[in-house]
């Protein structure tokens, strides 16, 4: 059978194919990744030469949905951007609204917000330490860390009624008060988990774990500053930044002296893990201080939520908090009629994920899961799409159904 000829005979060229290079999709679906991100790595034997990062697999159109809802409905929408850092998202949003409307929450409300914030930080770091151990092949430490995490989830259930998505915040205060029995239970839990945290720190210095985590995924201090990474990823590379100390919010104004920031200089995966473990121990101190200084008083405003919403004028503001993964930034523009013109969410994973490329080049394939886990990726937070039309020079955000319609060949 004659083979069809493609192109004229003298057009055929010799292409140089480098057969030693292999391109693997460390795809959206992989046992090492908790959330979908597409890393296309080019390897030669076991050494990584190049990394291509593609986000966007869990785009839900949250910023577009927020434009059609009133302020209270957006509060619950924003809480569900992420499961683990849900309290950080609501705190940031509510702080923005309170700043626009000139509403001052009571002292007790601020302290309770900070209490749940620190508990959530502990929960998130424990979650990540378990995942890190699992990626390194150490199942037992994964089970152990997650068993310790159950103590903190029990505390959440007692105080707010839910394990994640606490819905603690409301405009002008918090929704759930803390009784003296809950304070006692919190103190007892803190004593228990302190012993467990020190044990976890010990186990992470085991020789086989050290061989997996040390000197891999190195991000130098200069590269960290250039790429603007935030949170424990930056603090592990020597960049001293923490929103709780630099721009205090909630009750951190009064706890100034007690916030101590943990910084390490090595920049490898073990440094970032160590930063998180030590932050766990710091959170215990902060929670003890909060419980000591907890003032009395009301926890929310006297007016009802609907009346408060009507008081918020048309204005814009930026608000920042220190989520467990880094600095979380919200730009909120209200429209004076209980709605929003624009909500922009910049989560900490967006700059951190760019740090993956310099970290991974030169490492082995076996280092990929551990390195990806060490930046604590929360891809659910990090998927935003803005369509920039360079011909008309306009940018607009799109919702999910608009993207679906476009894909099926419908309208523009």
């Amino acid at each position: 059978m004659k083979k069809p000829m493609i192109g004229k005979p003298d057009d055929v060229k010799e292409i140089q194919v480098d057969y030693t290079r292999l391109r693997i999709p460390f795809g959206p679906v992989h046992p090492a990744l908790k959330e979908p991100v597409s890393l296309r790595v080019t390897v030669r034997k076991e050494e990584i030469l190049d990394v291509d990062i593609v986000l966007g697999h869990v785009h839900r159109g949250i910023e577009a949905l927020a434009e059609n809802r009133n302020l209270v409905q957006t509060l619950y929408l924003v809480e569900r951007i992420c499961g683990i850092c849900s309290h950080s998202h609501t705190t940031c949003y509510v702080q923005a609204l309170e700043e626009i409307g000139g509403i001052q929450p009571s002292e007790r409300a601020l302290y309770l917000r900070t209490l749940i914030f620190e508990l959530e930080r502990m929960h998130s770091h424990l979650f990540l330490l378990g995942i890190m151990a699992y990626e390194a092949g150490f199942d037992t430490l994964f089970m152990f860390t997650w068993h310790v995490r159950e103590n903190i989830l029990d505390l959440f259930e007692t105080i707010t009624g839910n394990r994640v998505h606490h819905s603690m915040n409301t405009v002008g205060g918090v929704r759930w008060n803390v009784t003296p029995q809950m304070i006692e239970k919190t103190s007892a839990t803190m004593k228990n988990v302190e012993k467990s945290f020190k044990y976890i720190y010990d186990v992470f210095q085991d020789k086989t774990v050290e061989k997996r985590l040390c000197e891999v995924g190195v991000l130098s201090g200069d590269e960290a500053r250039e790429l603007c990474v935030v949170g424990p990823t930056a603090r592990g590379s020597g960049v001293d930044m923490d929103v709780r100390r630099d721009y205090p919010y909630a009750a951190y104004n009064e706890l100034e002296g007690d916030v101590s920031v943990v910084v390490r200089k090595d920049g490898d995966v073990f440094a970032r893990t160590e930063v998180r473990i030590l932050e766990l121990l710091e959170s215990i101190n902060l929670i003890r201080k909060i419980l000591e200084k907890l003032p009395g008083g009301p926890i929310s405003q006297e007016e009802s939520l609907l009346k408060l919403m009507r008081k918020i004028p048309e204005d814009e503001t930026v608000s920042m908090v220190e989520a467990p993964r880094g600095e979380l930034l919200y730009f909120v523009k209200t429209n004076g009629r209980e709605g929003l013109w624009r909500l922009k969410v910049r989560t900490p994973t967006i700059p951190n994920v760019l740090g993956l490329k310099p970290m991974l080049i030169g490492c082995e394939i076996a280092d990929i899961p551990v390195t990806v886990a060490s930046i604590d990726p929360c891809m659910a937070c990090a998927n935003r799409i803005t369509i920039v039309d360079s011909a008309n020079e306009e940018a607009k955000i799109v919702g999910l159904d608009a993207l679906w319609r476009k894909r099926r060949g419908g309208e523009k």
Binding site: H30, F138, T140, T208, I365
Partner: protein, 316 residues
């Protein structure tokens, strides 16, 4: 019982005993992590369930090799486990059958390796290259440790001769001769790599390369591969017991246990060694990288096995 009948009955016996060993391994591993764990006969349920699943062969695979390799691996390791088992019962051996057993176990690993790479998946190719490095790393100390048996005191490479020497001395080889102890240590260090348990399960890492060499296998092929892995770990632990730690030798002359008693004591010792060398490292260590594992095997176990040959030549 004559040899042929015993060898024939040893195949179902190996099948049942090795899957029970795997069940105990999973149960103990789960209990150490504060979980309940699957029932001990779970591997039998898995085996039967997998045979009910569809046979899928990828388009990019070389299908003849892909479908034949699991069968080769399972057959080789079942035979390799049946030989020491039947030797204990019938008290005879073929000359040089230790070399045959080691060859069959190596062939089982290599068949798995080739099957993994024939699937056409890039993860399979990575698993193949890792497994090649691992095989070069752990086979060398294992074979050199066995060679030390050829000198003092056994002077032969036949399994039953080694057993008979231990019975005559009334104590296991590892407790009476220094060369035996050193060789046993080197052999025990090589077992986690041969049985693909953490910290040396690098070719089959779940979180790094999606199970490496096993990535495209499912259904009946996966059932045969899991059987091959279970029987080869059983074969290795039973071999260690037969050659170096033959505990019925301690009772020789005091009380006669009979064939059944001997066999049960050997199986109990094999279970203890499996817990020591496969389950505990699986629970307590993290996974190493391929370069680090290679370096480890070429330093410590190799030194130990060469030392055991030297000591054995010197007569210690």
């Amino acid at each position: 019982m004559n040899t042929a009948a015993t060898l024939f009955l040893a195949f179902p016996a190996v099948f049942i005993i090795s899957l029970l060993f795997e069940g105990v391994d999973r149960k103990v591993h789960a209990r150490m992590q504060k979980r309940i764990g699957p029932p001990i006969i779970q591997p039998f349920y898995d085996f039967i369930k997998l045979f009910n699943k569809e046979r899928i062969v990828p388009v990019t695979a070389s299908s003849r090799i892909f479908t034949a390799m699991p069968l080769v691996a399972a057959a080789a390791s079942i035979l390799g486990a049946a030989i020491p088992l039947s030797n204990i019962i019938t008290e005879t051996s073929i000359v040089g059958d230790l070399i045959l057993v080691l060859y069959l176990l190596a062939m089982s690993s290599i068949a798995l390796m080739v099957g993994g790479s024939s699937s056409g998946n890039p993860y399979g190719a990575i698993g193949f290259s890792r497994k090649m490095s691992m095989v070069i790393a752990y086979e060398v100390p294992m074979l050199i440790a066995i060679v030390s048996l050829a000198f003092n005191p056994c002077h032969s490479l036949t399994i039953y001769d080694v057993v008979w020497t231990q019975i005559k001395m009334r104590s296991p080889l590892a407790f009476s001769y220094l060369s035996g102890a050193v060789a046993a240590t080197a052999f025990l260090l090589c077992i986690p790599a041969a049985a693909m348990a953490v910290p040396f399960d690098i070719p089959e890492a779940k979180t790094e390369v999606v199970h490496g060499i096993l990535v495209e296998y499912g259904g009946p092929y996966l059932a045969l591969i899991k059987l091959a892995k279970a029987t080869s770990s059983f074969a290795l632990t039973f071999l260690v017991v037969t050659l170096f730690f033959y505990t019925p030798a301690l009772f020789e002359g005091y009380v006669s246990l009979g064939h059944g008693g001997n066999l049960l004591l050997c199986l109990a010792t094999a279970l203890a060694f499996m817990l020591l060398t496969i389950t505990v490292p699986r629970t307590v260590f993290a996974r190493l990288k391929i370069g680090q594992a290679f370096k480890f095997y070429w330093i410590i176990p190799l030194m130990l096995s060469v030392a055991s040959v030297v000591l054995s030549v010197l007569g210690l």
